[in-house]
């Protein structure tokens, strides 16, 4: 036993250091650390099933028994619930420990079926592995095992096999404590204990896939992966998810050159091993039979497959013709789907050709200036004493960021002050919630932050503003004015910009953002609708379903002479394009991506691009050559070096190795600040409701619709109002109503929703069933609607 006596060594003792001995090796643990975690660091592996480092321990499975020296001799303790103590002596591999662990395994296996050969978990199963490494080898049980119907679907995504379950409590703890959706629970007791949902209420959590990943046996399996592959057949590479801008670290696994599964990778700064179901299961869209495999060119008979050389020649001719009229008759929309390198290649091409009109945001983001404000990382936000939410519902749009902020609020590290027009996933965890109506948020923020209570809270420590676009039916200036009002009250506040598209930050910083005051995506579309743009390039963008105001898109498409689309599938936007170039999808290309906090991390290619599809950067290069505007790169490495050397923000990723694992933050420049000079407030007429349009996790996004696991979850749209409004309008829940605004109207079912605040009507964006577009065509800073019964 080694106890470091600071008086003898003369060193200043770390107050959090605890000296313990594990299997004879002296080691320094941290105060409060569990024995099992300390043993992991000294590489004395203790078998376990229920212990998970990201969740509080419960000591459910009893597998992690070890011996600890006590004054009365060695004592068996459960190492996942026993914290280290000064001078503790731990032994993890004595004969009695082995006997105890073997006994536990024998008991766990008493009811566990030996169907490993047909179990998805077989080959990567902690129970299987530890039965080999720490098990007795044979069982004394000869009795019949428990039987249940197997497997049963507990949601659209997850299957449950209760026979295999060892009741470790990982999934139920995750659902309750981490995700906050306690939709599964232990029911019954004793020998009948089983994990189950409430009858007829599915486990419809946005995070259900994580329970499949952390299940230590094959009790929870994913519909998408059942019988698809065996773990020893899987090929895998570490990558970063680009389904939204959180940038969760993943492992991309394939079998026979087809993606079969994503698993979350635990990195401290971002996702802690968790993924949302959309990000986890939309890989199915990469395997979709609808993927484009060849370039298409419009002919009299519609779009027809052709060769790359013909398609590129056509595209080049269209751009050349348009450029002959002037640089402002060509525009590029999109680019947030690709890698930093993809965006940079297109930005270089646009620079060469003098195309200023480009935008990776599609009118649903914020002014890129938000990236120049004093930036916070996700970790900084979670450690801040005050988090101010001026953001969309993070549970819907940036699910794993929601998990992180929820965790911070739950552990009372941060207090959340939320400003919103309808309740969000974080509302139950908010310290204070303030209602606003779109258009008056700056005033609400200013008033709220001037009370003594809030001022005192703001003065306690770091303030982080989570700033995003909460409503597609309002001008972005309202969000920015509200943010400015926060800076007036807390000048040292930092900003975590939450723009949702995968690599929007990388694309904007790499140059796919309007140049020389050429106007943003909406200006581009307006200019196209006015006949000023001859050639429009859609870089993985589907404006028909992505831009809130689809009417302007339709008018723009009608006027544009030539539409060139670079995409993975045919979408509502490129069905009538003149040239469609097939792009390599996620998993089919390498590069780097940037998340919402500016973290650059790598993307790895796992499978061969379908057909002849190519990464966007390669298309830019070839198109450049066809146009006589060679951007001078011939490999991804070369392109990356050029990116890092050209654009200052990327210089921190000079060493490509830095983008692996945790990734590396963009080089930051001196932040700018904003303050509220003039605040515009738009009052609502009392007869109307102010419209909020925002996204939910599952909508008609191409990647969701093309993923069989997810497509069934997409809901039909309805107009949601506070229950008290129903009586005022004079209709019953579920009836179809007319929602009118400024001479236009839509017809939709109405729903009472007590999460929607009074005075506001909420419409989910891009859902099935109802075309809400007419309401979004209104050229105004906010949209007021009147809801009337249909006579």
């Amino acid at each position: 036993m080694t106890i470091v006596d600071p008086a003898k060594t003369g060193e200043v003792a770390d107050p959090n250091a605890v000296n313990i001995t594990i299997n004879g090796k002296p080691t320094v643990a941290r105060k409060g650390e569990l024995i099992i975690a300390a043993a992991d660091r000294t590489e004395d592996f203790i078998p376990r099933f229920c212990y998970h480092p990201r969740m509080p321990s419960v000591g459910m499975c009893r597998q992690c028994l070890v011996e600890v020296e006590t004054p009365r001799g060695p004592k068996m303790v459960v190492s996942c619930v026993t914290p280290v103590a000064e001078g503790q002596v731990v032994r993890t591999a004595t004969d009695s420990v082995k006997k105890a662990q073997e006994g536990m395994l024998e008991l766990l296996l008493a009811n566990h079926p030996l169907d490993c050969p047909v179990c998805d978990k077989g080959g990567e199963c902690p129970l299987q592995d530890q039965a080999f490494s720490h098990g007795p080898g044979e069982s004394r049980f000869v009795e019949e095992k428990r039987h249940y119907e197997k497997p049963i679907a507990i949601s659209d995504i997850v299957y449950l096999d209760r026979e295999r379950c060892i009741l470790c409590d990982r999934c139920t703890r995750f659902a309750d404590e981490v995700a906050g959706d306690a939709l599964i629970s232990f029911i019954s007791r004793g020998n009948d204990t089983q994990v189950m949902t409430f009858p007829d209420e599915p486990f419809s959590s946005y995070f259900s896939g994580n329970t499949v990943q952390i299940c230590p046996v094959g009790a929870l399996t994913a519909k998408s992966y059942r019988f698809k592959a065996r773990p020893w057949d899987l090929d895998q590479t570490e990558s970063t998810c680009t389904s939204c801008s959180v940038g969760c670290r993943t492992v991309v696994q394939s079998s026979r050159d087809e993606l079969v599964r994503y698993q979350g990778v635990d990195i401290d700064p971002v996702n802690w091993g968790w993924l949302c179901d959309r990000g986890r299961y939309n890989f199915e869209s990469v395997n979709s039979p609808d993927r484009l495999t060849k370039p298409l060119v419009k002919t009299d008979a519609g779009l027809e497959a052709t060769s790359w050389s013909v398609a590129l020649e056509n595209a080049a001719r269209m751009i050349r013709l348009a450029l002959a009229k002037g640089p402002r008759s060509v525009a590029i929309l999109g680019g947030a789907r690709g890698t930093n390198e993809d965006a940079f290649a297109w930005a270089m091409l646009a620079d060469k050709l003098g195309i200023d009109q480009r935008d990776a945001q599609l009118g649903d983001g914020l002014n890129p200036e938000v990236f120049n404000l004093n930036q916070a990382t996700i970790d900084e936000a979670c450690a801040a004493s005050t988090i101010i939410l001026l953001a969309p519902d993070l549970k819907e749009e940036l699910p794993v960021l929601y998990l992180r902020l929820r965790d911070s609020a739950q552990k009372r590290k941060s207090r959340i002050i939320e400003f919103s027009a309808h309740d969000s996933g974080l509302t139950p965890h908010a310290w204070r919630t303030f209602d606003y109506e779109p258009g008056n948020q700056a005033r609400v923020v200013r008033d709220a932050l001037s009370t003594d209570e809030i001022r005192e809270q703001l003065s306690r420590g770091q303030v982080v503003v989570v700033l995003g676009r909460a409503n597609l039916a309002e001008n972005e200036m309202f969000a920015l004015q509200a943010a400015a009002a926060v800076f007036d009250a807390a000048p040292n506040a930092k900003v975590l910009p939450v723009l949702r598209r995968g690599n929007v930050r990388g694309a904007v910083v790499a140059g796919l953002t309007p140049q020389n005051d050429s106007g943003d995506a909406i200006d581009i579309l307006r200019s196209a609708a006015a006949g000023k743009i001859d050639c429009l390039v859609l870089l993985g963008a589907d404006p028909i379903s992505d831009v809130a105001d689809a009417g302007i898109v339709q008018r723009a498409f009608a006027q544009v002479k030539n539409l060139i689309s670079i995409d993975t599938m045919l979408t509502g936007s490129n069905r009538n394009a003149d040239v469609v170039l097939p792009a390599a999808a996620y998993g089919e290309k390498s590069g780097t991506t940037t998340n919402l906090e500016g973290r650059i991390s790598n993307l790895s290619q796992k499978i061969t691009p379908r057909g002849t599809s190519r990464p966007d950067w390669m298309i830019a290069t070839e198109l450049g050559i066809a146009l006589g505007a060679d951007i001078g790169v011939s490999s991804l490495e070369q392109l990356n070096q050029k990116l890092v050397a050209t654009i200052g923000a990327f210089s921190s990723s000079k060493d490509p190795r830095s983008t692996r694992g945790d990734g590396v933050l963009m080089t930051r420049e001196t932040p700018v600040s904003i303050s509220s000079s003039s605040v515009k407030v738009l009052e609502r007429n009392a007869y109307n409701l102010r419209l909020v349009v925002s996204r939910t996790m599952y909508d008609r996004a191409q990647s969701t619709l093309a993923s069989p696991s997810l497509v069934g979850i997409v809901n039909d749209a309805a107009i949601h109002v506070h229950p008290s409004e129903l009586a005022r309008i004079g209709v019953a829940e579920g009836t179809t109503v007319r929602v009118g605004a400024e001479g236009t109207s839509i017809v939709a079912p109405i729903k009472a929703n007590n999460r929607v605040h009074r005075g506001v009507a909420w419409l989910p964006f891009n859902h099935t069933g109802v075309d809400i577009n007419p309401l979004l065509n209104i050229v105004g800073d906010v949209t007021d609607v009147r809801i009337e019964p249909i006579k």
């Binding site: 309750d176 629970s185 029911i187 007829d200």
Partner: protein, 204 residues
């Protein structure tokens, strides 16, 4: 309907207010629900979840842990015949056979008129008085087949109405706490001083 009725909802809210955390009131609320309907319905579990702020799955998980909560309709009188060792030695199996014949249902079944449910039970902790049974958890000791017949007939005739309430009724007298005697719901972390009855003398 099967949710708590108005009176019981009011009572439920009153009970919830006695606890620092609403979900702590779940068990008493489940009893009220069982008293109302004779068993715990799905709608009741959903309602209780709404009242105490947990999901229906959590209510379901908690409720199913306890044997005395039933999730299918049971008869007005639930007869549990003990079959553990002492009772078995003293003729519990024969008693059960007799009961099955008398009521015309197998153990676990409910008579078609919905009056009796017959069930096996494990030790009822009255081994010296074997064989035992319980009717709605009220004891009957040293039960002979003849005793059983009389019990059933008396129950049918309503002669035991005072002694044995219908299934689900826990107590005939409802606890009423006068407002001045309420202690208030204080969370453990908010308790800073020793309780008054310790009189400052106790060494905790």
């Amino acid at each position: 309907m099967s949710r708590l009725n108005e009176t019981n909802t009011k009572l439920a809210r009153e009970i919830i207010s006695r606890y620092p955390r609403p979900k702590s009131a779940l068990i008493p609320l489940l009893h009220i629900s069982q008293e109302q309907n004779g068993y715990i319905t799905r709608e009741a579990m959903q309602h209780l979840g709404e009242l105490v702020g947990v999901t229906s799955a959590e209510v379901y998980g908690t409720a199913t842990f306890y044997e005395m909560f039933k999730f299918e309709p049971v008869g007005k009188y639930l007869i549990n015949i003990c079959g553990t060792m002492s009772c078995a030695l003293m003729g519990a199996h024969e008693l059960m056979q007799h009961a099955e014949k008398k009521l015309g249902v197998k153990a676990g079944g409910t008579t078609p008129d919905g009056v009796f449910t017959l069930a096996h039970a494990e030790c009822q902790a009255a081994c010296t008085e074997a064989p035992t049974l319980q009717v709605n958890y009220r004891y009957r000791l040293r039960v002979t087949p003849a005793d059983f017949d009389k019990l059933v007939d008396d129950l049918k005739d309503g002669k035991l109405g005072d002694e044995i309430p219908q299934h689900g009724v826990l107590a005939k007298v409802r606890q009423v706490i006068a407002p001045e005697r309420e202690v208030g719901a204080k969370a453990p972390e908010d308790v800073n001083d020793a309780p008054a009855w310790l009189d400052g003398k106790a060494a905790l």
